[in-house]
């Protein structure tokens, strides 16, 4: 679904990219968050953790990384008076110094899709990714629980990316069964496997389109690749011909869900004189007006998807077909 959200509404700052981390208790949401903070590389990340009781954020990380801000909160879903998650989120906007990314860790029973609405609506946030962390050992048991079954199913179907965590604790045969279970419960949703919720930071956040993006993801594969070997792969597209704007929208709308991200500078026929910044994450995208072309216009696009699931010839045909002949 697309929303052509302006970069700047009436002089307000640009919408901050928002990543929502959901998933049941104990699946590894906080591990993922700690991993993210440890690998933030100086990015200023605002984090809201919505849970209660003990919160296991690694405090050494927070101490070391004063450039990120962590806010702990817990609301309840009953009515507006319980919306403290959002109050905390908006308070981050008033934090000293601009933030670059926002991450919400939802409570273990929350519907991350509903929380993500705050990034689908309004000028404050731009939804980047909904990632749902699952525990390879327990997810099916929880999904069968009398009280929890629909909560778990809702979390899985709200995901742009499901992280099957703790895969080292299950046998290969079980993992295969689990994969087919996911196919049935959350058909089409992109999935990756990991042992310690170590998802490449560039997939979680909204990194600027650059060569290093691809390289960093490639690097991280060695560390985090598991059974599947490489988790992500990328494909680039370069052209000196402009896209037909409507045709490009159509191509983007039809990208399979295994394509997580596409970023780049493109030339479109409706605004051929200047750069257009394409920003696509998991089925949502924006085309925003950029600078005038410095020299010759040239489209440069990087598409990132699940390793082994990118059908390059089909992609190439689709994007080429959208070019102005």
């Amino acid at each position: 679904m697309s929303e052509d959200k302006p970069v700047d509404v009436r002089g307000y700052g640009p919408a901050l990219p928002l990543t929502v981390v959901g998933g049941f208790l104990g699946a590894g949401k906080t591990t993922l968050l700690n991993h993210l903070l440890a690998n933030a590389n100086g990015r200023r990340i605002g984090v809201v953790v919505n849970d209660f009781g003990e919160i296991n954020i690694d405090e050494r990380l927070i101490a070391r990384r004063t450039d990120s801000i962590i806010s702990l909160t817990n609301g309840c879903a009953c009515c507006d008076f319980g919306g403290t998650l959002y109050d905390s989120l908006f308070q981050l906007l008033e934090a000293a110094g601009p933030l670059e990314f926002i991450v919400i860790e939802t409570s273990g029973v929350a519907d991350p899709g509903k929380v993500a609405d705050v990034g689908r609506v309004g000028r404050f946030f731009r939804l980047n990714l909904v990632v749902v962390v699952t525990d390879a050992v327990t997810v099916r048991e929880h999904a069968a629980d009398r009280y929890l079954h629909d909560t778990i199913a809702r979390q899985l179907t709200a995901a742009d990316l499901i992280l099957i965590n703790k895969t080292d604790l299950v046998k290969a045969a079980e993992l295969a069964e689990l994969e087919s279970w996911f196919d049935a419960v959350a058909p089409g949703v992109a999935r990756i496997a990991s042992r310690t919720a170590a998802v490449p930071v560039d997939v979680l956040l909204d990194a600027p389109p650059s060569e290093p993006l691809v390289r960093r993801i490639a690097d991280s594969e060695q560390v985090h690749g598991h059974h599947a070997g490489r988790q992500f792969e990328s494909w680039s597209f370069i052209s000196s011909r402009p896209f037909r704007t409507a045709a490009l929208h159509e191509v983007l709308a039809r990208l399979p869900r295994t394509i997580l991200r596409a970023k780049g500078v493109v030339q479109v026929d409706r605004a051929a004189e200047r750069q257009t910044i394409l920003h696509f994450v998991a089925g949502r995208w924006t085309l925003e007006a950029g600078e005038l072309w410095p020299v010759m216009p040239q489209t440069e696009l990087v598409v990132i998807g699940l390793a082994g699931r990118m059908e390059v010839p089909a992609l190439e045909e689709a994007f080429k077909g959208a070019l102005l002949s």
Binding site: Y86, D87, R123, Y147, T151
Partner: protein
Amino acid sequence: MSETTIYRAAKIFTMNPHQPVAEAVAVRHDRIVGVSTLGALKGAGKVDERFADKVLLPGFVEGHTHIQTGTIWANVYVGYHDRLAPDGKLWAGLKSFDEVVARLREVAAVPPADDRPLLAWGFDPVFLGERRMTVAELDRVSTTRPVIIMHQTFHALNVNSVVLDRAGITGGADVEGIVRDAGGKPTGELREVAVMKVALQGVGANFNTIADIPLGIWNFGRIANMTGATTVTDLANELSDAMVDGYCAVTANDDFPARIVPMHVGWLMRPSLLVERLAHLATLNTSKLHFGRVKLVVDGAFSGFTARLKPPGYYNGAPNGVWNFTGGQLRQQMELIHECGYQLHIHTNGDEATDLAIDVLREIISDTPRADHRHTLQHCQLANAEQFQKMIELGLCTNLFSNHIYYYGDLHYATTLGPERSARMNAAATAKRLGVHFSIHSDSPVTPIAPLFTAWCAVNRLTAGGRVLGTSERLSVADALHAITLGAAYTLRLDHEIGSIEMGKRADFAVLDENPYAVDPASLKDVRVSGTVLGGRHFPAPGSPP
């Protein structure tokens, strides 16, 4: 030695089975020293005739209200039903969009004219026909000043185009919470907390902020007084230091007309810290301020489709509601509070949430048996005989949301619950028959606080649309009046102090113009409250002759 005053009344209903009716009550300082005939009490003190034509009941006890009862009046009331403001002014209900617009224009016209958001509350489109309000109406109030109306359910807003614009809410986003017209444009009606919060943030407005804590508490007390309530609850408060200071200072004032039972929210702190905090708060308790109870919220509400229902779920097929916590988390949060002797009040609207709460409490109570804990399931709107039976076995109480029958009964009948379940919702007669200790409540400001009205709801089970929902769950007038006095006092573990008129208890009375046992039960809600007596002191309701 303080003087004893003997109040003679037209009739006194005591809730004391040994002596259900009396003629006079003797009061020394803030306690009752005698209840009997005038003749029997003669000589104990000076006779005061001010209630000679009044009927006295124990001061009403409202077991489920919120501080927002007082603070919400910082915003303009635009509801369908007439509503009494804390100053005693009756705000007439607004019967059309035009009347809502007219009231808001009137308020907007009051200088200084500025751009601060104009906030209103209590809007109840359910009663205003099929057509939904849009920006077209609210833009007639102002096209430069943000206008936001909170619905009475607290689950939706209507805003003007200034708000949509400043919040950046467009038709592009495919989000359930944005109501759209046929052309796909947002109409200005916004549902779902995430969407509502974006709108509010867009103009820097927040209904939760309490600008003036002492004023809010005073207003809470004043409204209680007008309804005959002498003890009210603030069911879920974070109890910040400022709030605690406010409660201590205001309730210590002799002119403040209510006892308050503030309950600490149970999910913001680790249990070990929470019990420390409760121990500290207990040192601040007075006869008018009662800390020491903890609130937890298991599910949401029917009107937002967030309550958790057992199969077959919502009547209209809407997806089941949401949990706030898992059973494991509830247990982790509740067990230390139970072990340390504090009382738990647990919000469970839907019957699946009630089941989960019972399951978890059974584990906790089995592990650490404790006499007389009186943990109470709040709302418990769909509890049936089987669940009530389990609650009795575990020593649980309940507080039923009888006002829902009137205000939302039509919605429940047609949409959320269907005819069968809505006929047995808030099953007070079953609770009574099985012997559950129970009370009935308003959840004010979700519905207006007025214990006699709540009793009327439980007695008549009539909806606003005129439908009777389940005559078999009707309470007798006597049982309903018991529920709003001694019944509620029991659920708060305060029945040794309040809830009945008998020797040794605090001298808290509801002063009524008529005998509620003698009026037509259909008119129970119309019995006029002329004020209260709190701890022996007379607090005439505003507008009543002294």
